[in-house]
């Protein structure tokens, strides 16, 4: 009756062999193709580096002014502008300017990447139920798998550095925008779509003229969530060599520096709040037609 008390598991040797085979296969895969894949991501690297340089080399008053200007265009809210201005002054005063700029750069690049990849996937999902049933479980895995687990193959393949960090951030941050693009387009009123069809609109005219504009507020909620998740991933990504506010946090954890950890942690929070408020404002402004 032993099988009742002890789970009939695979024998040790078999298990060891199994793990070894998987590891070896992947190692030889990354040896053979690692460089090719790395080269494939080179343009991304130079894009990210260029962004970082732009942020770091621009004199800080100009950077602040540019950020405030963009915030104003997007939100048209004095309170948000004032808050942003104060936050950036404090960040700079406490010596976190450069780290913040690095973080901003990687957030921006990863968000752009997520938008460019995520929105078309979301559209494809909305268009066909088959694609949806295929993609949904993948998104579930991406959102639930502990991020450390997929850091392993990424690092094995691409080593430590900015690109693997960026990829890790994107894997973590892309699901919301895909889901909400899909949802937004599916929620577009069927009657309205039928009306467009009855006037002889073709697929693209329906997509760009009706579906996407009506789904935009929902899509923007997805962008907002993607940015939030990217920010949350910054600390973990710093473990594999991403510069920015995450690195000091990591240092603070291993050395028990309370002040350092708090300061950089709060800087991330501040960035998150600014991003959130600004993007929410944009989302609201897109629904102006709904108010009387």
């Amino acid at each position: 009756m032993e099988w009742l008390t002890k789970f009939p598991e695979m024998d040790r040797n078999g298990l060891r062999e199994f793990k070894k085979t998987v590891d070896n296969t992947f190692t030889s895969f990354s040896r053979n193709y690692g460089e090719g894949i790395e080269n494939f991501f080179d343009p991304l690297l130079s894009f990210l580096v260029a962004f970082e340089k732009l942020f770091l080399n621009t004199p800080w008053p100009i950077t602040i002014f540019a950020i405030l200007f963009i915030c104003w265009l997007a939100s048209r809210s004095i309170i948000i502008i004032a808050g942003t201005f104060l936050s950036f002054l404090l960040i700079g005063y406490f010596g976190m300017w450069e780290d913040t700029m690095s973080t901003l750069a990687i957030i921006l690049v990863s968000t752009l990447l997520c938008i460019f990849i995520g929105i078309p996937i979301g559209i494809a999902m909305a268009r066909s139920n088959k694609v949806q049933t295929l993609i949904l479980p993948i998104l579930d895995v991406m959102q639930t798998i502990p991020s450390f687990v997929y850091l392993i193959p990424v690092v094995m393949l691409l080593g430590i550095g900015k690109v693997p960090g960026l990829i890790a951030v994107c894997i973590y941050a892309i699901p919301p925008i895909v889901r909400l693009t899909n949802l937004g387009i599916r929620l577009v009123d069927k009657d309205v779509l039928e009306a467009a069809e009855s006037f002889g609109a073709n697929y693209w005219q329906k997509l760009f003229g009706i579906q996407i504009p009506l789904a935009l507020p929902t899509i923007f909620a997805g962008v907002n969530q993607t940015i939030m998740m990217a920010l949350a991933m910054v600390v973990i990504a710093s473990m594999i060599g991403v510069q920015g506010l995450g690195l000091p946090v990591l240092r603070a954890i291993s050395n028990q520096y309370l002040a350092l950890g708090l300061m950089n942690g709060l800087a991330i929070v501040v960035l998150a709040i600014i991003f959130d408020r600004v993007t929410q404002r944009i989302g609201k402004r897109m629904q102006r037609y709904k108010s009387d």
Binding site: V192, E194, A196, E197, S198, F199, G200, A201, Y289
Partner: protein, 348 residues
Amino acid sequence: MNNFIKIKNLYKIFGNNTTEALNLVKTGISKEELLDKTNCVLGLNNINLNIPKGKIHVIMGLSGSGKSTLIRHLNRLIEPSFGEITIDGVNVLELNNKELLEYRQKNMSMVFQKFALFPHKTILENISYGLMVQNISEEIYQEKSQFWLKRVGLEGYDNYYPNQLSGGMQQRVGLARALATDAEILLMDEAFSALDPLIRAEMQDVLIDLQLELKKTIVFITHDLDEALKIGERISILRDGFVVQDDNPQKIILNPSDDYVSDFIKDINRSRVIKAKSIMNKSVSITKDNVPIIDSEMVLEEVLQEITKTKNYFVLVKDKKDKIIGKITLNELLTGIQRPRKEIKKYA
């Protein structure tokens, strides 16, 4: 009467395995049996209709009778399971994708029950939509849309958004949007059903006025008999996806083809709907002296007023060219107003 839109043996079955279901339907199986046997829903059952050019043709029926399904076959928003639709000599079902889009753009436009305006576009952009998808130059469609905006009485509302307008105004926009493409055929799917009674009557008048001038071919769906009688020049009554009667309004009231139709018409005010020409006695030689002469289009309520003024209780009826064409006695008038007792053949 010319046959502008011809629908022949049209069937629509919703569900999987429609070929098997279609064969069953053709053997005369009922809607319920079909659902039991094949899990398919019978939408349209052997529709044969001829719709003349330049008239308002009303398709009537209760909910679930297939009227919205039928109208969507004309512009192929729904594909039929079997049958033939020819419009002005063009077999609509044989159009390929590109031809179909062009056909929808140029030849027919639609007005919807729930307005279905584009909420993110302004009123003017809404009206322009049908022209915009045709890639017509902005100058032209701006001008046309402005024209139709004025024509439906919404001048100055160009830059409002649909939800800033009342229901009646929104449907005026819907109507203008459909008219702006100059399409020959106008499909109206319960266009006024969502409006309150006063606004509905107002919109019916707007439509009748426009039609006097435009002479479009209008296929109008409604479940409201009063509306059908007011605007319809011909009425088809649909039941369970089958046309039970297709006739002019007067004949439908005077000679309902079965129980279903007579049930439908039992509550209407006959004296306000039936016209003198429908009940007059044609085979009469007439002496004209001191007898009032009435117009053949006059409804019985008015005829009654005329008849009570006379001594002998009868009036003469003239047509549009002032020619005497018949007479009506008080007896005939009362028979016309009286609702016929149940003695009509049972619907199978």
